[in-house]
Symmetry: C2
Subunit: 296 residues, 2 copies
């Protein structure tokens, strides 16, 4: 249940190309690639990690996806995503928990212990933000024991506050850690952790102190850059590392100083990146990693 | 230097229409109106307060603007805006401070003690967010004594974190209060305060505790709503009170509980609102105030 060391691949693991130790491709970045194509791309480029999205996994089924990545020697660095835990009614809550249990099982099948959770926005028609946040805490306390039984750690991803209304009422790393600690206090399970994504946390005046506080709970480190202007809806404004305004090496150093030894997963939501061939997107991502992050 | 009571107009003050005590029109909301038109609109609607933007004031000059609002019996609830204090070079810093001193003088001329500060984003080409934040603190420490001499209080406005890169590196109310306290520690001047704007702070898990902490430093309370989807560039996505997802009465109650007795200023950046005739925008604003906020 501890972070896997990225630098020393176990037997049967793909050897990383020089400078790419600890690099992981999140499949959301290369949207045009199927899972087999993404796996193949990683192998050819010497990228040893892969972060999987459930829709991509569903294309082949979890068992086949697991076989593909295992035979390629890739490390699955996370499964994205569970969450959406703010339904206000019992039926909605039950359905969300059921879906999250399936996600936990998929993560276990895929051989990753990290299930990324995007916690959900305000319920339709509601302005009750404190209520939605309480709902997340309650759902996490229910999910955590099930995840533990399956050897999976729920990883709360705080999303940038501009997504508070519609995607995630968990808006800061500090709040995510408060939630993890609350779940531990309620269930005795210390397995709930957090995702640190540069895009979502870079603006936070407390980011460095909260990253330090997160020691032992950082389950994934995702990177992409803040580019301007923001596009409509703001979801697809993320850039390759180095294209924007975030001091990503500073955040990478803070995460390393907190004892995180896992992978750096590149997850970019950007229509322009999505429109480029997967090969090219991966090449750029690899170059940027070597330039900006390989020595952190 | 204390917040002016909104409910008991002094002699020569416009009597508010029923339910509109404490309501202020920020001139950014009625973009198509000149200052004389906005003043006239407030008088006809019985809106006793007006928040002024410097560009609008510049159209007539500060002295004439002051005469207009004084003769109409309106209270000037703020002057927007000074700030942009993150220039990395000496010449840029000096120019910004000079401009802010002019803004202080204009505020004094206009008869308001509240100068709203939007602190500025990252300097061109820079990713040094901590450095930009230090520059803001240094500039505020220089500006505060000058403001005090003129009977004006600098009001730091934390902007939503989505504006961190390009408009304001001050992203939370807690950070704004830390800055105000730092200035007090460095200069002995306790006059620096904050603006609480619902649009910018509503998402913050600490918002209620920070509003309570802000007691005595809340210099303006601005309201508008969070509507979806966000438009491109995100600047013009604000809605009339009640059109969006913020529980504005909850925040108004928190501000009142912190001892704030000043005006509620309606500031809406929204192309659709700007495209409607000023009369209509003001009518909607008044209706929404009566429905959602008059009894807070």
């Amino acid at each position: 249940m501890t972070a896997r060391p990225a630098a020393r691949p176990a037997a049967g693991r793909l050897a990383a190309a020089p400078g790419l130790e600890g690099l992981s491709l999140n499949t959301a970045t290369t949207k045009r690639w199927t899972l087999p194509e993404a796996v193949d791309g990683c192998v050819r480029a010497g990228v040893p990690g892969i972060g999987l999205w459930r829709d991509r996994v569903a294309e082949t089924g979890a068992a086949e996806a697991a076989r593909l990545v295992r035979e390629a020697g890739l490390t699955v660095t996370s499964l994205c995503r569970g969450g959406f835990l703010t339904a206000p009614d019992a039926a909605g809550r039950a359905a969300a928990l059921e879906d999250n249990r399936r996600a936990v099982e998929e993560a276990a099948t895929l051989g990753t212990d990290v299930l990324v959770l995007v916690c959900g926005g305000l319920p339709e028609g509601s302005r009750d933000l404190p209520g939605a946040r309480r709902a997340v805490a309650d759902a996490l306390a229910e999910l955590a024991p099930f995840a533990k039984e399956h050897g999976v750690r729920p990883a709360i991803e705080p999303l940038h506050p501009m997504f508070c209304a519609d995607r995630a009422v968990v808006s800061t790393l500090g709040q995510a850690l408060d939630l993890a600690e609350e779940v531990e206090a309620r269930t005795g399970d210390d397995g709930v952790g957090v995702v640190v994504d540069t895009y979502h946390v870079w603006w936070d005046p407390q980011v460095e102190e909260q990253i330090a506080r997160a020691a032992g709970r950082i389950l994934a480190f995702q990177v992409c850059d803040w580019t301007l202007p923001l596009p409509a809806d703001a979801l697809l404004g993320r850039g390759h590392v180095g294209d924007g305004l975030i001091d990503i090496p500073r955040l990478a150093a803070a995460v390393a100083a907190a004892g995180y030894t896992g992978f750096t997963e590149v997850e970019i939501f950007n229509q322009e990146v999505w429109d480029t061939p997967g090969e090219q997107a991966l090449r750029t991502l690899v170059e940027r990693h070597r330039t900006h992050l390989a020595r952190i």
